[in-house]
Each structure stands twice: as C-alpha cells, then as structure tokens.
C-alpha cells in the first residue's frame, strides 16, 4: 500500500474513535451522525486512494505524466459563468440565461481541451517523440 494514504487513514481512524465516544455520550442524534459521516467519507476517500494506488502499481501508469494545457480559456469562462448564473437568480433572469449559455460554451471548450490533451499524450507516447518541457530534472 502507498504510504501516501496513511494520513487519510489515520485521520479517518481518529475521527471514527471520536464518533464512537460521541455516540456513547450524546443523547442527540445529529452531532454523532455528522461526525460519523465525516469519518465514513474520509475512510471512503482513503479506500479509493489505496485501490487507485494498487491499480497504478499493477499497470505501471504514472499519474504525473500528463499533458496539461498552459492556458485554459474554457475554465476561465466557466469560472465567470457560474457566478453570473447564480447572481442572476436574484438580480434578473437574463443573467441566468447569459450564464447558462456561457456554461454550455465552457463545457464545449473543456471537451475540446480534453481531446487536445489526449492527442498530445498519444504523440508524446510515440518512441520518436521529442523531449518535453517540465518535470523535475
């Protein structure tokens, strides 16, 4: 198991212990439930991490070898569109429509970026590919 998951597991175990004590002491259901949900969520996250680590170890795939776009206009557009649409719910429906339209455009841009990233990764995986910038020497 990767040691990277250790802090997550340790945190999950400590939260679980605190939740158990709270269940024993507390007469109300909400506080211990909240703490238990937090412990469960952290346990699940740690579990996903361990499973993913094992898969990566088995396949030999390295997560840090990924193409990353230097600029992402689609992300910026999404970041502008979400608050616009939300604010529109109180300041005017026209803003919701504008924001909604921009969100659709932004998702289109993200799909386009994802395709470009995949193309770049495939090109990079070819044996005759030139060396790329980035990555610790």
């Amino acid at each position: 198991m990767s040691r990277a998951a250790f802090p997550l597991l340790a945190y999950a175990c400590l939260l679980s212990a605190l939740a158990v004590v709270l269940w024993v002491w507390d007469d109300h259901w909400l506080p211990p439930t909240m703490l238990s949900v937090a412990a469960g969520a952290m346990t699940a996250t740690a579990g996903v991490w361990v499973v993913q680590d094992r898969r990566l170890a088995r396949t030999g795939e390295a997560l840090d070898l990924r193409a990353v776009p230097d600029l992402s206009a689609a992300t910026a557009l999404l970041g502008f569109a979400i608050p616009t649409a939300l604010v529109g719910s109180y300041l005017g429906v026209y803003l919701v429509l504008i924001g909604g339209g921009l969100i659709v455009l932004a998702f289109g841009g993200l799909v386009r970026e994802a395709l470009a990233v995949r193309r770049a990764a495939r090109a990079q995986a070819r044996p005759d590919a030139p060396p790329q910038a980035g990555g610790p020497p």
Partner: protein, 532 residues
Amino acid sequence: MALAVTPRPRALTLLTGTDHKVIGLRVLLTALAFFLIAGVFAALIRTELLTPNAGVLGEDAYNQVFTMHGSTMIYLFVIPAAMALGVYLVPLQVGAAEIAMPRLALLGWWLLVGGGITMYLGFFTQNGAGSAGWTAYQPLSSSANTPGDGMYLWILGVMLAGVASMFLAWCTLGTILRRRAPGMTMLRLPVFTWAMLVTTLLIVVSFPALILAMVLLLIERQFGGVFDGSGGPIAYQHLFWFFGHPAVYVMFFPFFGVVGEIVATFSRKRFFGYRAMVIALLVFTAGSTAVWAHHMFTTGQITSRYFALTSTMLVVPAGIEYFDTLGTMWRAKIRLAVPMLFALGFLVQFVLGGLSGVLTASPPLDYHVHDSYFVVAHFHYVVFAGSMFAFFGAFYYWFPKVTGRMMHERAGLAHFVLLFVGTTLTFFPMHILGWEGMPRRVAEYAPKFQDLNIVSTIGAYVIGLATLIWLANVVMSLRRATPAPDDPWEGHTLEWATSSPPPRHNFDRPLPPIRSHAPVFDARYGLARPHV
C-alpha cells in the same frame, strides 16, 4: 509532462494561465484586496465605537459593516490567503513541476473572485448587504428578520467562496499525495507542506457542511419550513459550526507551518521533533473536527462534557507543536531578520489567543463570556495577532523567492513594531471589556466602557498605519530594491534550490538529494549535522 511553452499576451496568461505560481499569486492578490477592504470596515467599526452612541454609521449600516468585515476576513481573506500559500509553495516544496488538477485551481480563483463580488453586490440592493453576522444564525437570517436581496447575495457569495477554497484544497492535497519528487517520502515532507496537508483534510471534511448550510438557508429564506420548530435553529448551528470551528484551524495550521519553516531557517537548525510534530498535527486535526459544539454551550442542547473535554484536550497536540518550535530555537544562533520577528510575534501573541480559548472551552466560564467582547478578543488574538503575524512573516520570507527582489529591512521593522503595538492596544482591552459585560455586535454601549474602547480604537488606527507602511514597502521594494539571490535566507526546503522567481516548470537545475525534510540544509551542511 506539459505541453511546450510559447510566449503569450500577459493579460491572457493572467486570466487563463494554469501555472500554479500564477494562480497562487492571483489568489493571494485577490485575498489581499479583500483584506484592505475589510481593514477599512474595521476602521469604521472602531470609529463608531469611539463614543457610546451610534453617531457615525447608525445601527443598520453598522450591522452591515461588521457582517461584511467578518465575512470578508474569513471567507475572502484568511482562508484563501492560506490556500494561496499552499498553491504557490507546495509544488515547489515537494519538487513537483506542476500542481495537480491545475484547471480546478484556476476555476477556484475565478469562483473566489465571483464569490467576493457577489457578496459585495449586496451593498447596491435596496436593504443593503448581508447583516446577520458572519455566522448568519437562524432565525436572525430568515427573510422576515433580514429582508432583501443583499442577504441572498451574501449566501451565494459564501457558497462560491467556500467551493473555491475546496477546489484549491483538493489541488494542494492531490499535489502532496501524487506529485512528490523521487525520494520525497511522507516523512520527508517539509513542515509547511505537512501543515497544508492536514489543512486540506480539514477542508475536505468540513467545508461541505458550510455549502449544505448555505443551500438550506437559501431554501429556508425562499420557501420556509427547513429550520422551523424547536430544533431547527440548533440544527443550523450544528451544520455551521461543523465548518466554522475547523475553519479556525484552517486559518491556523498553514501559518503554524510558516512559522516552523521561518524559525528553523533563522535558527540555522533542523526543525526540532519533526515526527512528534507530524503525529501532533494528525491528532490535532482529528480533535479539531470534534469540538464544534463548544460554540453552542449556552444553547443547553448539546452534550457539554464531551465537547468541553475534546476542546480542552487540544492543548496537548498544540503544546507539542509549540514546544517543537521553541525547541528549534533552543541554543541556536538566531538571526533576527524581519520574517523571524514576525514569527516570534506569532509565538508570543498566539499564546494569549490559545489560553483564552482554553477558558472558553470550559462551559461555566463560557456562560459568563458568551457573546461578549471577550470572545472577540479571543478570536482576534488567534486570527489577527496570531495568523496575520505569521502571514506577514511568510510575506517577508518568500517575497524574494516570488519576485526576485528583497524587501526593505527598516520599513519591515517599523511595520512589525507598529503592528505589534497596534494589535496589543486594539485587542487586549477587549478581554476586560468582555469580562465586565460589554456585548459584541452592538453599535451602542454603556458609557462605563468608553475609556477602553478609545484605547482599542487608537490601536486600530495604529494597525492601519502599520499596514500603510507595509504597502509602501511592497511598492518600493518592487520598484527599487536590490535583486534577491536564489537562497537569501539559507533556507531548508526545495523552493530555495531553484531560481528567484522560479521558472515555468519550477526547477531549472537538478534537485539536491532528498534524504530528510530539509534537503537544501542537508546539501549545504551534510545530513549528520542537526544545526550550524
């Protein structure tokens, strides 16, 4: 691996760039802009409190100003500033070329800006901005008691800012767990990176409760029926404080990490008790997730003995971290440069904030000081006198790395002295005011409290003067200061093993061998030496 870099227009890079350093700087500058606005609000609040009568702002405006001061400081400044330090520094400290999920980090910055603007749009609505305090307790924040679109916009702004901080935290967490350089094991992570790791865990667990609370608050205001009944407002408080108390540690851990780095560097020693610090941080993190209801002792609706016990037990890991930091300075050849002065300021003042926290963790004492100025003094000693000193320490410490220029030492010294004096004058009298019974969140008060309020207001103006000196120092340093070498302080961690400022992919030269949490110190003095 990253795509090849080609020159692009500066504005385009600023708005859409995915370089973690650019994103970190943008988040920091955004947070600092909100800090200055919140500072103006603080000056207005203190001016109003110069006299017992509400003659400057009036009660309605005062409610809006103190609400927006608290909300801005917490949702838009301290938490994002801590995240900004993580986004900028963690990839450098773990030897990564990139942050994990850079587009998510970029989206985080955009949502932070959007959240801040949304919150402030409230000032332009009919009833003004949100005015139910930064906690927006029910039923005070209901549509009947706080009518108008300003409160809706406040809720939406808090949601956006909360989501932004979560996104930035996920990127930082992913970088620590997945992007470490070969040799950078978990027990070789720098102190600041460990502090950021536990901070991001806290955010991952606690911030969804804030989002849920805000969504329910919106539904309550729009349709009603969510927090009705005898237990409704208590349920809101549970949700809010399940976020709210861990948020205090989100505002503490990164700055403790900063102080750890600064103290070790300027003591010219390795950080003392590294493994004990790691264990203490994990225990502290878990403990701080289970103390939220000590904010609710006076409701009589919680199991006080559990939350009093867990809150008091936090003294143990806090003490370990504190003594680790003191142990690092023990018999060291300390250099008293400006970053170290701010780190020492943090250590001195945070003790007061921490000890008054132990008092309020005791239900009988909490009953006495609840909703009084004692609580205001306590959390300002934690967040302002504590974390802000560490923030300024970080600013002076990493400014040469980020900009490639040194800051002026004398102006930094003046900033430190004035800030220390101003902080003490402003916040210490509040302990006495609160103990004597002055309630918080009021524009008018009994005349017997006026003398100490005048002292407090003078202190606030001194803090304002200190901030102006700091701003002038930043501008002067950017324009005319001497160029900074790559490692001006003889730092311990990997960010000092690259150029100032770092190149696009962080490292333009081979990394030193990583055999401990202080690889640059090892490369300079050898692995066997604990100190210089």
